[in-house]
Symmetry: C2
DNA sequence: AAATTTCTGATTTACGTACATCAAAAAATC
DNA sequence: GATTTTTTGATGTACGTAAATCAGAAATTT
């Protein structure tokens, strides 16, 4: 049987109340007594039964997610997954709420963080914007005792407790490596379609892509980045122009959103172009199946949300996280390993979307 | 606040004891009364607080894993991950035990299953062997009230509650697709190195590989399967012979174990051969880095073990599982997206291993 | 040594459920 | 209608922890 507080009390020769004071850092315990208790905890290998503790406290974990507004399908998918996770809230004693703020607006994000912190939630998950004032706001949250994880987009300088998301440099390198192998000896330049070079994730993906493609393969021209603002219409236009300008275009790496425009543009081309894109959506899925896209790199929003919740609860309890379990993987989908379509999958609106 | 048994009792106009009888299927409740209670449960949306219930019952979940003996590194990795998960047993109220049986010995497996069932564990995870008597044993376990999941190797005919593992046909297809793309227009036959065609997983991988490679790419000769018995020495010998016999050998798909022998054989070749293998181990990792292997398909044993535990607990409680969370993914590793090496990773003995 | 402050013990209630016991009520049987 | 059987209610204890109260002991200060 695992030891209980009673065993600790008996073993340390103190009362239950004192053990409780030590465990919950309540005042009124001499240093020597505290050490006796801690020694007993150590030798007996006591671990607090969180289920019983939470029951006694009737504890709930109010968790706040702060994510960007706008029609970025990945972010909307994230929001949907938070809603799905919310259905399980009664079971896992969480209470999830979502704040949305304009994308890339660091002032608004800072305000949202401060507002969220003011009702002392059990944890905070933030899609970070790369700005010093945001880092400062996160640091404030933590010094107010609120655990913070960054979600999708990291901000290591903030001292956040954990980052939930993929390694974007590795994602870019993977894309570059796949592109190099898929192209084989075939000549011709490669284009890169991004949302905006102002976004850290996109910069990192580009960096990894360029590095892998130029390091491990024969020299190849990488054209100037097309910034499609994650807008399908603009993406389509830019890609079409690019195809016209480069009749020998061999491949395209789309590292942001707006892929439906990309697909429209390349399907109009009568020549094979290798395409690697990000995020599995209904569009990229069907383009994969049709052979218009060769590979899709993907991060699973559901996993990210569940991981954020697990990590925040663990941090709130001061418990260690299982690192291996919380590593968010870069999924590589070909048309041959597509997962079955599910109800919760990202579905996009007609016309303007990913 | 979520409703409790007290709310149900009040709402149904019955006593707490009666609610308890209904909830725990104890006798002594008239059908009409039971229906009243069930209606109240329904309308109030009551869900039993499992944490409190488990506390009251001081319930533990004894779970039994049955896996093959032998030096198959993947299976040993699985065993190691079970041990790691066992460290968390006090926290999640499980008690894990492992039975090992000779590989592919269905009689021994049946005996182990029956033995395990005889002390009525809360659940059973079995690396299944494809035989009718095994299916029957699993069916017996289930009708004895013991939830069963198949692990790594499925046996759908058994009526098991759940399968924890990858889709091996999809894995083979993925390998075929990657091989086709990696080879591009380059001519030459492709070899397949398997453990044994008696194993269902290996058969399925081969099937998927052949289908994808012949369906989506120019015609290519796939040589007769080399059966290396998952033995590095034999694998090395077979591959060396094959290379000698086919001077234009373009690629090798290694769908089983014994990869260290494979690597030795191909590194002796002075020509580039595309290689796709299974399972990330210290050997395949370093071969990836060295460029001797192009891609590794991987299933994460830690995830599989944790998933099996979650699913079995859920089945034991009669609770729904989160399907999306329990899907075991096929990881595709290139040298560019290798995860950091960790303490729990599969390390192989010198000389004879994967 | 007395007064004060700080620590510690003993005890109780609570969280939501499980489970057992015994009495009382209702239904079924004769 | 009396008896037996079945169903229901009332109540208490337990699980492991949290949190509060109050009395008493120990340490510190005067």
């Amino acid at each position: 049987m695992r030891p209980t507080v009673h065993d600790i009390a008996a073993s340390a020769g103190v009362s239950l109340a004192t053990v409780d004071r030590v465990l919950n850092r309540r005042p009124g315990v001499r240093a020597v007594t505290r050490e006796k208790v801690e020694a007993a905890i150590e030798t007996l290998g006591y671990v607090r039964d969180m289920a019983a503790a939470n029951l006694a406290k009737s504890r709930v974990y109010p968790l706040v997610f702060i994510i960007p507004t706008g029609d970025n399908p990945f972010m909307r998918g994230l929001e949907a997954e938070i809603a799905v996770a919310g259905l399980r809230s009664p079971v896992d004693r969480t209470r999830l709420s979502v704040l949305t703020v304009p994308a890339f607006d660091s002032a608004a994000l800072v305000e949202a963080i401060d507002r969220a912190v003011s009702d002392v939630p059990a944890g905070l998950a933030v899609v970070a914007v790369d700005a010093p004032e945001v880092a400062a706001a996160i640091a404030r949250a933590r010094s107010a005792g609120v655990p913070v994880v960054t979600l999708v987009s990291d901000l290591a300088a903030s001292g956040r407790d954990h980052f939930v998301g993929i390694d974007n440099i590795a994602a870019g390198r993977t894309a570059g490596s796949l592109m190099g192998r898929f192209l084989g000896g075939r000549p011709g330049p490669v284009a890169v379609l991004a949302g905006s070079m102002l976004v850290r994730d996109h910069r990192e993906r580009l960096q990894g892509f360029t590095a892998a493609l130029s390091q491990d393969f024969e020299p190849r021209v990488i054209l100037d980045v097309l910034e499609g603002q994650d807008d399908p219409m603009l993406a389509e236009e830019l890609v079409a122009i690019c195809c016209k300008a480069h009749s020998d275009l061999a491949g395209i790496y789309s590292l942001g959103a707006g892929n439906s425009g990309l697909v429209t543009a390349i399907s109009a081309q009568g020549r094979p172009i290798r395409v690697i894109a990000h995020e599995l959506t209904s569009h990229t899925r069907s383009a994969l199946k049709a052979g218009l896209i060769d590979a899709v790199l993907h991060q699973d929003a559901g996993h990210e949300v569940r991981s954020a919740i697990r990590v925040l609860k663990a941090k709130a309890d001061g418990v260690a996280v299982i690192e291996a379990q919380e590593r968010i993987r870069i999924d590589i989908f070909l048309k041959d390993n597509l997962p079955l379509e599910q109800a919760g999958d990202v579905r996009e609106p007609i016309g303007r979307d990913d």
